[in-house]
């Protein structure tokens, strides 16, 4: 399996060239290119490029949603992509994060803290770490009994967990008001001005381009960068190596002395808390939570983002999240594209059909996703990795002598 799929990607594809070029750059040069690129992405909702800007929904809002999905994809990637545990109830953590913020700061909730001693201006920021902590604990509670199960059972049990969380939100009407949802959830009050009496983060701030969606997109970019730094460092540490070992062969990892259960649990908890963070952002942005937002089908959508982008590759899953969020919204409300009349709403309707077909086709023809993960030589650091990659590519130009060393450096493509 590994040799058949690894060899074709050894051909000099465009992405390979791009990757090698990027890897060979010095760190400062990488920053020089990377920072303006991030700034450009961040300014997208302000620039509103002509064709790319969504028609049916606000572009800033779509990008804010993308930011949250990107966080979810990064978190789920830790669990599915890095550790190889199929979690189908990830939406449960998203819901717990959102509902924690909702329950702590919505006036509809009996646990509302903003009446007595917490200023509404700061309530969201106060609730954010609590939401992350509670989702982490719920990850621990779900993970402790279930992570001893075989992989395919885990998928179904986590699916059940996701559904139970939604049913709890729906049925504990004393707390969550069920289907009516929790309203007026707190948000950070900042940038108050004449035209924006409630600050820039209020859902009432709808004057494009600097509307609330744009501001929340910026907030989520900050969180994405923080989370990427944390997760990236974890991946390069002993923890990350243990995750990869578990993903590739759990029994072998256990025999080699990796405490698999412990590291699986860590992956689960870290993944869960990132999901909770995303949920808290969602609650702050929309300022309203209802159970239907957290249907289990969303878990599949998150999974689709991870698989589509490339399991195990952080940038890949962010791209996957972008595709998942942006494509349906791109077509929504569009009546023509480059002069060709289309029924955009109809196409947007079919999103699950297309994503389903994409999942099946990807799994058959390109299980590694759009941007596949490459296993780096974790133990020896970047210079050696770059050197081996160069050697591999140089050798690849003479395909007759495809050496074993090349496959080793490539090894990650499963």
């Amino acid at each position: 399996m590994s040799t058949e799929t690894a060899r074709p990607t050894l051909q000099l594809s465009f992405s390979d060239k791009l990757r090698l070029w990027w890897d060979a750059l010095a760190r400062p040069t990488q920053w020089l290119i990377g920072v303006p690129f991030i700034v450009f992405i961040a300014l997208l909702p302000v620039i509103r490029p002509p064709v790319l800007t969504t028609v049916g929904t606000d572009f800033g809002g779509v990008l804010a949603q993308f930011g949250m999905y990107a966080l979810l994809a990064i978190g789920l990637n830790v669990v599915v992509g890095q550790t190889g545990l199929l979690d189908l109830g990830y939406v449960g953590f998203y819901a717990i994060g959102a509902y924690t913020v909702g329950l702590l700061t919505s006036p509809d909730s009996p646990w509302n803290l903003t009446d007595d001693w917490l200023s509404r201006d700061w309530a969201w920021l106060f609730a954010l770490p609590i939401a992350i902590a509670i989702t982490a604990i719920s990850g621990l509670i779900l993970g402790t009994p279930t992570l001893r199960l075989r992989g395919d059972y885990l998928a179904i049990v986590t699916l059940g967990f996701g559904e139970i969380v939604r049913l709890l939100a729906d049925n504990l009407t004393n707390l969550t008001r069920g289907g009516q949802g929790l309203t007026k959830i707190a948000y950070p009050v900042a940038g108050v001005s004449e035209s924006r009496p409630n600050g820039v983060f209020s859902a009432g701030n709808s004057t494009a381009p600097f509307n609330s969606g744009t501001w929340w997109f910026w907030v989520s970019i900050v969180f994405i960068i923080i989370v990427l730094l944390i997760v990236g460092n974890l991946e390069r540490s002993r923890v990350g190596r243990a995750w990869v070992a578990i993903r590739e062969d759990e029994d072998a990892a256990e025999i080699m002395g990796v405490p698999t259960f412990k590291f699986k649990l860590w992956a689960f908890i870290i993944g869960a808390s990132i999901g909770g963070l995303s949920g808290a952002l969602y609650a702050g942005q929309v300022q309203f939570v209802v159970p239907t937002t957290f249907n289990v089908i969303n878990s599949m959508l998150f999974l689709c983002a991870v698989v589509l982008g490339g399991q195990g590759n952080k940038l890949g899953v962010i791209l996957g999240a972008f595709v998942i969020v942006y494509l349906p919204n791109f077509f929504l409300g569009r009546t023509e594209l480059f002069g060709i009349p289309i029924d955009g709403n109809e196409i947007a309707n079919y999103k699950y059909l297309f994503f389903g077909i994409a999942l099946v086709v990807l799994m058959i023809f390109r299980p590694q996703g759009l941007i596949p993960a490459r296993q780096k030589l974790l133990a020896y650091g970047r210079p050696i990795y770059v050197a081996t990659r160069k050697a591999a590519l140089a050798l690849n130009r003479k395909p007759a002598a495809a050496p074993a060393a090349a496959t080793d450096a490539e090894g990650g493509a499963r």
Partner: protein, 345 residues
């Protein structure tokens, strides 16, 4: 601090109420209804169990196969000239049974065909590549998306809005539920008898088929040891196809029985929860074990209704999940153990 106090009060007030009285009062009625649902779960569970036994694969899309069966039997009834209307059709017992059988065959054809097609299109290419089980599961999820959305958006276009779409089909009722006799004060309706008996007969027939026939021996051989079975001249691919076919046929039959009990349940999203429950039933009885599927289905159906009486209707779906989690934690091999391969002729 009052916020924290009120939090304590909410919990003390009883977020979830226990209603033991309701369970005690309706015990036998709940049991009868539970067995009815349970026999449907059992039939669907057989599909999960067979595929798992042979391929060690959770056929996640089996719930959608069941859902297609509901549409298949509905389409068959429409072909026979029935149209949805408020009251039930009355044609006497023999004609009703004939029509029900025809509807069941319609469901079985659609479900069986879909199951075999799913195996061909989605799973076989993966097997050829020797993909890991995670890849199979993700494919199955993708396939269930495709099937659901096909019924949701494409089927109405193909059938001039007669079938599919985002709302449930208007029910076509062939049987009026009428009480036939009582057990310990619990009414037993004709619908319940039909469902229970039909499901038992089908489950028994499947069990005999797998135990006694040459094909069944092939299935058991592959479940036990695929390599040796192949060496002994059993075609693995054919066995796998047969396994999917049997699972699909039973799901189609179960779909018809289910619509007898829940006439307004024919909707594109109607398979998901039922599929989870049937899977839970299979695990409860011991996945890979045919008798286990039957036992697990009946047990789960009954437990679910007891849970519903105890905690309230809104918690009914939680019961299956909690049972599933508990079984997997305490006895992952289920009540009867995983033994499709070990069953002897």
């Amino acid at each position: 601090m009052s916020a924290v106090m009120s939090a304590g009060q909410v919990l003390a007030d009883g977020v979830i109420d226990f209603n033991v009285q309701s369970l005690v009062d309706n015990f036998w009625a709940l049991t009868v209804d539970g067995l009815t649902y349970g026999s449907i779960y059992a039939l669907v569970a057989v599909g999960y169990t067979l595929v798992y036994g042979v391929l060690r694969l959770i056929n996640f899309a089996h719930s959608e196969i069941f859902m297609l069966g509901m549409f298949g039997q509905y389409a068959m009834l429409m072909l026979l000239g029935f149209t949805p209307r408020g009251d039930a059709y009355e044609q006497g017992t023999i004609m009703t049974v004939t029509y029900l059988l025809l509807a069941m065959i319609g469901g079985m054809i659609v479900s069986g065909g879909a199951a075999v097609g799913l195996e061909r299109v989605a799973y076989r290419p993966l097997r050829k590549r020797g993909a890991p089980s995670l890849v199979f599961l993700i494919t199955a999820i993708g396939a269930s998306f495709v099937i659901q959305e096909f019924v949701h958006f494409v089927l109405p276009k193909l059938t001039n809005n007669e079938l599919g779409g985002s709302i449930a089909q208007q029910p076509i009722r062939l049987v009026v539920p009428s009480v036939q006799f009582t057990v310990f004060g619990a009414d037993v309706t004709n619908v319940e008898i039909v469902i229970f008996v039909a499901a038992l007969v089908l489950a028994f027939a499947t069990e005999r088929f797998v135990t006694l026939t040459k094909f069944g021996r092939g299935i058991r051989a592959v479940a036990q040891d695929p390599v040796t079975a192949t060496l002994m001249g059993v075609s693995r691919e054919r066995v796998i196809m047969l396994t999917f076919l049997i699972g699909g046929l039973l799901a189609g039959a179960a779909a018809m029985l289910y619509t007898l009990r829940v006439p307004s349940g024919i909707i594109y999203s109607g398979g998901f929860i039922l599929g989870i429950k049937a899977f839970s039933a299979a695990v409860l009885g011991g996945i890979g074990n045919l008798r286990g599927a039957l036992l697990g289905g009946l047990l789960l159906g009954v437990m679910e209704l007891y849970g519903q009486a105890l905690f309230g209707t809104e918690w009914r779906d939680v019961v299956a999940f909690v049972v599933l989690i508990l079984v997997l934690m305490i006895r992952p091999t289920g009540i009867l153990g995983e033994s499709l391969g070990r069953a002897r002729a």
